[in-house]
Symmetry: C2
Subunit: 366 residues, 2 copies
């Protein structure tokens, strides 16, 4: 029986003849250089570097981090924590508020590794405290304007109720953590830096307020835009960027990276061309790229940048060749450039995905 | 090691205690009744019923179709065709234009089952004709306004070049096929029926034009909105709806189904509640639900309807409780109803997904 290859990670240069269906490919050199640059920035700024592994979810790429001296990681789910614990990672923060339905799985993890969880409701830590069999550290998740998860810094009543569980049984309060996801909606470097600085100040204010009673607490932040663009990390103890390992079109758009720092692409076969409407069809749809989109100035949606794939490597963009629609398996792109107009059935193109985390997640299990 | 269960298919009533992470669940009774109703409609209208299996991708649900007398199916990828060939399906149409990079895999399939492919470019069939080792039927994909794939019906020069490959070697021209995906953007039953009738007329015109030279050719159409709402199928020989097996929020919105015909939901744990902003966090994000959204009248995006999950079954909606944002693992919903405001950490809710095909695809491999 023929099945598409399990595309956990294909590295450039890729043997083009082997690509029959959408394939997630990584440029190891760029990827290692992204890792190395961020590790160096952390060292220079005396920051704990706890990279988020949700982007790549790859044991192999994890080893590239280990080669840079990384030994503490962040994940976004309990199952991901188990995967990396099995791969030999011994210090893991699950950067997702505690799901009390997973306390059994958390107990098993806590028996094996040094584990930190996130708390943003007293009910979560109350449930955890009564069933924990092994030591677990907890961070209080602070909401500094992204309004996804977390407690507002002014809500000291809630914060103090949660801190109250520290040292009772197996639980230790480790500090304050935030994710400034609002940098993804920022319109440039200046706005990103402003969000980053305000977050640093708010978190270090909390640290100062609570550190005498809780010595050793730290503050942790660091989304990819902030960590890529900021130079000043005063007030911060730990950064947890994830996306920078690959970057993507969204990061390019908001200015977090240059094109030649993008380390991943999805290679797709051209299936048909429709010269009468300046469009072409690729085998590559929502189940490979996700429906994450960039909104163009005119309100239209852009699902990925189409670029040449030559000699097993993606090349520089040739023009404004964008995916304008995606269905389950189909991707349609506008052939704006002369290069794109010359494509024919059976050619391969590379797609720079809008959101590499989602594309990597979709293609890792196929 | 703990892993989330492989959620290929969980049937209601589900044992709630077993749900720790997002789970795709199916109400078998509703699902079988959707299948049975569509099979009956096909019988009454003397149509070949070739359901699209891309929605469920489940061998078990496939058997529910077989129990209704179905023996011919549609899939959207070569790998899906292999999967269902292995499960004993002997008559398969791959309703995606021929990807010439997959000709080897197509040859292997054609040696095992009665296989049909889609052609919308002479280059595709030319490549196929020189390498085919077993008989394959082909349909010409016609574009009737959706502008995703296909040849415009007026382009008889292209159509005739493709038909020219029939009976040369292993290839047989089987007829004309379309997918009126534009019904998904329709604003009500009347517009859907108008699209359906126009498609039927255009395809049967093509059939009349070419059937004397190609006896036995058929016309095939049938997206879920058309097949759910139309009563008149004159001019059509075959229907291929897929989504109707589950339906979803999008279909409910465009009027293809009633709420009590929706056969699938994603059950998610409530992780946190934020009463100060009338929002709550579920464990359920883009990697479980996809980023497919319905656009509300005010331009905001709606990623799924939150409803109660009681005694292992989802219930009727209690109010306007919608997912307003999704990231990789997080879903945030507005707690508009009194019911939603009373939820707390550890409760389970059901999400009616916007697009059940994508949710089923995401959750089948976890």
């Amino acid at each position: 029986m023929v099945r598409p290859p399990k595309l956990v990670i294909l590295k450039t240069p890729v043997e083009s003849g082997n690509i029959h269906s959408p394939a997630f490919i990584v440029n190891e050199q760029i990827c290692r250089s992204n890792i190395s640059r961020m590790a160096e920035k952390a060292r220079l700024n005396k920051l704990i570097f706890r990279p988020h592994f949700k982007t790549h979810q790859s044991v192999e790429i994890g080893e590239w981090f280990r080669a840079e001296g990384v030994n503490a990681i962040t994940v976004s789910s309990v199952s991901m924590a188990h995967k990396f614990a099995d791969a030999g990672w011994g210090d893991i923060t699950i950067a997702f508020p505690l799901n009390i339905r997973e306390i059994d799985e958390i107990n098993q993890l806590a028996g094996k590794v040094s584990l930190n969880v996130l708390i943003d409701m007293p009910e979560q830590i109350s449930a955890l405290s009564t069933s924990l069999k092994h030591p677990v550290g907890f961070y209080i998740k602070i909401d500094l304007g992204y309004h996804r998860a977390g407690i507002e810094p002014a809500n000291t009543e809630l914060i103090e109720r949660i801190i109250g569980y520290s040292k009772s049984g197996q639980l230790t309060f480790k500090g304050f953590l935030t994710h400034s996801g609002n940098t993804y909606q920022a319109s440039g470097k200046q706005e990103i830096i402003a969000i980053h600085e305000s977050a640093s100040q708010e978190l270090s204010k909390l640290k100062r307020k609570y550190q005498s009673d809780n010595p050793g607490i730290i503050v942790s932040c660091g989304d990819t835009p902030s960590c890529s663009l900021a130079e000043d990390f005063s007030g911060i103890d730990e950064i947890r960027p994830g996306n920078f390992v690959f970057y993507d079109l969204m990061q390019l758009r908001i200015g977090s990276c240059k094109f030649n720092e993008i380390a991943a692409a999805v290679v797709c076969p051209v299936v048909s061309v429709y010269p009468e409407r300046n469009e072409a069809l690729i085998y590559g749809g929502a189940v490979h790229l996700s429906k994450e989109a960039i909104i163009n100035a005119d309100g239209s949606r852009n699902y990925g940048l189409i670029i040449p794939f030559v000699d097993g490597r993606w090349q520089s963009p040739m023009g404004d060749d964008w995916l304008v629609s995606l269905s389950q398996e189909h991707g349609i792109f506008k052939t704006e450039s002369t290069w794109a107009k010359s494509l024919s059935a059976g050619d391969l193109v590379a797609v720079i995905p809008v959101h590499s985390c989602l594309s990597a997640d979709l293609l890792r299990s196929r």
